[in-house]
C-alpha cells in the first residue's frame, strides 16, 4: 500500500515541482535554496553504531535503529513494524492538505525504511521517552527524507521529547510524521532544536485524534537556518483537547515558519495555539494559523495567539491567524501582536538601577518564558530555559 502512495507522490512532485510564492503557505517563504540539495544516498548500515540508553529510541537518518530498542526500558509495550508491512488505510491515512504540498510529496516519495511504532493499550509511561534523531552524511547539501508513524493506543499515557543531533550542518531534513491518539490517551510531544546550525528543516506533522484525548505539542527552535513546520490536528471525536505551544528564537538570517491547522470535526473539543517569535538581526518568522470548526462541532472552545517581538529594524514577522466557523454554538478567539520591547517597561526597570542591557534581557526572557511556562513537559521547560538564556546572552 505504501508503495502506491509513494508512486503517486512522486508523480505529484514531478508535475508540480518546488513550491513558489503563489501558494498561500509559501507566500512569505522562499524555497530557492531547496534546489541546492540532492537526495542522500547514505544507508543506516554504513553508519557507526549509536550508543543508546533505557529511555531512548534512536533514529539514524530517519530510519529506526532497532538495536536501540534492545536497551529501551519499555520495549515490551511497543509494537514495531516497517511501513511496508502496513495495509491499514486508517493507519496510513494522512492530511489531504499535506498531499497537496509538493514538498510533502517529495518526502513521501523519497523516504526509505519508515517505521510504525505502536504503544499498546493502556501503556502508561511516566518517564519521558527521548527520540534521538541522528543525522550522518559525509557529503554536503544532501536531503534526508523520513516518514514514521507513532500510534498511541487507547488509555495510554506517553511523553516524548525529540532531539536532532547532526554532525554535518548542511543537511536538508525533510521529515514527515504521523501521530494517532486513540480514545482516552494522553500524548505529550516536545521538541527542542538547539544546535545553531545551517540546517534546513521542513517537517509535516499530522495528528489524528480520537475521543477524550489530551494532546500537547511543545517546541522551542533556536537553530536551523531554515525551519518550517506544518502541523495539522484532526479532532475527530468528542471531548478532546489539543494544546500547541511554540517558541522560535531567530537571529542573523534565520527563517522560522509555523503553519498550523486545527480541524474541529467533533463537538466538545478544545484547542489552544500559542506561538511566539523573538527576532533579531535580519531573521524572519511566519505564522499561518487556522482553526476550522466544522458544522455540528458545537461547544468548541478554541484560542489562537501569535505574538512577535522584534529586536531589530530589519527583522520581520508575517502573521496570518484565521478562523473558519461553520457551527453556531462555539467560543473561538484569535489575536496577533507584533512590536518592539516596551520603552516604558525598560524605563521602569532602569529606574530601579538595572542597566539597559540587563533590562532588555529581562524583558526578552519574560516574553519568551510565557510560552515555556505553558509547556506541559517540565524537562522540556528546563532544557528550553537554559537554551533561551544562552540565546539571549549570545
Amino acid at each position: 500500500m505504501i508503495d502506491s502512495i509513494k508512486k503517486n507522490s512522486l508523480e505529484f512532485f514531478n508535475t508540480n515541482g518546488l513550491p513558489n510564492k503563489k501558494l498561500e503557505n509559501w507566500k512569505f517563504t522562499s524555497s530557492k535554496n531547496f534546489k541546492n540539495f540532492s537526495k542522500s544516498s547514505s544507508s543506516i548500515n554504513e553508519i557507526q553504531k549509536i550508543k543508546s540508553d533505557e529511555l531512548s529510541i534512536v533514529f539514524v537518518n530517519g530510519t529506526l535503529d532497532k538495536d536501540s530498542l534492545k536497551s529501551f526500558k519499555y520495549s515490551h509495550l511497543l509494537e514495531v513494524k516497517n511501513l511496508n508491512e502496513l495495509n491499514s488505510k486508517k493507519l496510513l491515512h494522512c492530511s489531504k492538505n499535506f498531499f497537496n504540498e509538493t514538498m510533502f510529496n517529495l518526502g513521501m516519495s523519497e523516504f526509505e525504511n519508515g517505521s510504525y511504532l505502536s504503544f499498546k493499550n493502556n501503556s502508561v509511561i511516566k518517564d519521558v521517552i527521548n527520540i534521538k534523531n541522528y543525522f550522518f552524511e559525509n557529503e554536503e547539501n544532501k536531503r534526508i527524507s523520513s516518514f514514521n508513524i507513532f500510534h498511541i493506543n487507547e488509555g495510554s499515557e506517553i511523553s516524548i521529547i525529540e532531539e536532532d543531533i547532526k554532525e554535518n550542518h548542511s543537511i536538508f531534513n525533510l521529515k514527515l510524521n504521523k501521530f494517532i491518539c486513540e480514545n482516552s490517551s494522553i500524548f505529550k510531544y516536545g521538541k527542542s532544536f538547539n544546535d545553531d546550525s545551517q540546517t534546513h528543516s521542513l517537517s509535516y506533522n499530522y495528528y489524528q485524534i480520537e475521543k477524550d484525548v489530551a494532546l500537547s505539542v511543545d517546541s522551542m527552535v533556536k537553530s536551523s537556518f531554515f525551519n518550517k513546520e506544518f502541523i495539522e490536528v484532526d479532532l475527530n471525536n468528542i471531548g478532546s483537547d489539543a494544546k500547541i505551544n511554540i517558541l522560535n528564537l531567530g537571529k542573523k538570517e534565520q527563517h522560522l515558519d509555523n503553519n498550523i491547522l486545527i480541524n474541529h470535526n467533533a463537538e466538545h473539543c478544545t484547542s489552544f495555539q500559542h506561538v511566539r517569535n523573538v527576532l533579531n538581526h535580519k531573521s524572519t518568522a511566519v505564522f499561518n494559523g487556522k482553526v476550522i470548526v466544522a458544522e455540528g462541532a458545537q461547544q468548541t472552545d478554541s484560542n489562537q495567539s501569535n505574538k512577535n517581538l522584534l529586536l531589530s529594524l530589519e527583522s520581520n514577522a508575517f502573521s496570518n491567524p484565521q478562523l473558519e466557523i461553520y457551527a453556531d454554538d462555539v467560543s473561538c478567539g484569535h489575536g496577533s501582536t507584533t512590536g518592539a520591547l516596551d520603552e516604558n517597561s525598560i524605563f521602569y526597570l532602569r529606574a530601579r538601577g538595572i542597566n539597559y542591557s540587563s533590562a532588555q534581557k529581562i524583558l526578552i526572557k519574560a516574553f519568551a518564558k510565557e510560552v515555556i511556562d505553558d509547556f506541559s513537559l517540565s524537562s522540556l521547560q528546563d532544557i528550553s530555559e537554559i537554551a533561551l538564556d544562552s540565546w539571549i546572552d549570545g
Partner: protein, 246 residues
C-alpha cells in the same frame, strides 16, 4: 541632598518645566502641589532621567554629584527612587527576581556583596508583613493583575527594599482607599530618616495627614511660585490655585 537649578525641560517641542529651583536637604520631606498639567509629574520624571523628556537647561545634583547627564540606572544607583504614578505591568518577570536584581545592582554599586536568595526572602517577608501583603506577592509578575492599591504597595515594597537616598512619590496617593493610604504612609514614614529625603507630588491634603512635610511648594505653569509650610496646603484646599496667578 538634591539640588535643582533653573531646570527647563520639554517633550515633543513643548516646554513643560520653565525654570525650577529646588533644594531638599537630607532629613526633610517636601511636597509639590499644583494643578493638572502644571509640570509636577514631568519634574518627577526628569529627576529620574526619563529619556522621553528633553532637558533644555539647568542642572541636578545629588550630594554634590552632578547627575544632569547621568543615565536612568546610574541616577537610581546614586540614590534616586521614583514611585511611579502608573507602575507598568511586566508579565513574566517575577517580583522576587526583579526586587533581588534591583537590590543587588545597588549593593554592587555600593561595593557590597550580593544578597543571597534566603537573606533576601527573609528581608522581604518582614517588609511584606508591614505592608499587609502575603508572601505569595513575591511570586507574582511585576504589577501584573495587581489592583490599584497593590501597585502602590508594590512601589513602597521596592522603596523599602532598595532604601534609596531620595524618594520621589509621584501621586502615590491617587486611587487609594483609606486603608491603603495609611499603609503607604506607614511605609514612607518607616523609610524616612535624617539621612534621606522625600519629595511628595500630590493634589490632595489627605496623604499629608499621615506624612508631615517640612516644606510645601506650589507649582504653576512649570514654575515653583510659592514655598512655605503646611498652611499653604490648607489654603490650596480652601481657595484652589487662582490666587497664585494674581
Amino acid at each position: 541632598m538634591i539640588k535643582i537649578k533653573n531646570l527647563e525641560a520639554s517633550i515633543d517641542d513643548k516646554t513643560i518645566l520653565k525654570g525650577i529651583d529646588l533644594e531638599i536637604p537630607a532629613g526633610e520631606v517636601h511636597v509639590i502641589m499644583g494643578r493638572n498639567g502644571s509640570g509636577k509629574s514631568t519634574l518627577a520624571n526628569v529627576i529620574a532621567g526619563n529619556e522621553a523628556y528633553e532637558l533644555d537647561s539647568g542642572s541636578i545634583s545629588m550630594n554634590n554629584t552632578d547627575i544632569t547627564e547621568m543615565s536612568i540606572e546610574n541616577r537610581a544607583l546614586e540614590g534616586i527612587f521614583l514611585c511611579f504614578q502608573y507602575p507598568v505591568a511586566i508579565p513574566g518577570v517575577g517580583m522576587a527576581y526583579f526586587l533581588r536584581s534591583a537590590l543587588n545592582a545597588h549593593r554592587k554599586h555600593q561595593g557590597k556583596d550580593e544578597m543571597d536568595a534566603l537573606e533576601f526572602l527573609n528581608n522581604a517577608k518582614g517588609i511584606l508583613s508591614e505592608l499587609g501583603l502575603d508572601d505569595s506577592f513575591l511570586k507574582r509578575s511585576i504589577n501584573d493583575g495587581f489592583s490599584g492599591g497593590e501597585k502602590k504597595k508594590s512601589e513602597i515594597l521596592q522603596l523599602l527594599t532598595i532604601n534609596p537616598k531620595l524618594a520621589v512619590l509621584d501621586e502615590t496617593d491617587s486611587g487609594l482607599d483609606v486603608d491603603a493610604l495609611r499603609t503607604v504612609a506607614k511605609g514612607v514614614n518607616k523609610f524616612k530618616n535624617k539621612d534621606n529625603s522625600v519629595l511628595i507630588i500630590t493634589h490632595y491634603q489627605r496623604l499629608l495627614n499621615y506624612i508631615k512635610p517640612d516644606v510645601v511648594h506650589l507649582m504653576i505653569d512649570g514654575k515653583i511660585v510659592e514655598s512655605g509650610d503646611m498652611s499653604l496646603v490648607e489654603k490650596v484646599e480652601k481657595d484652589g490655585y487662582s490666587w497664585l496667578e494674581k
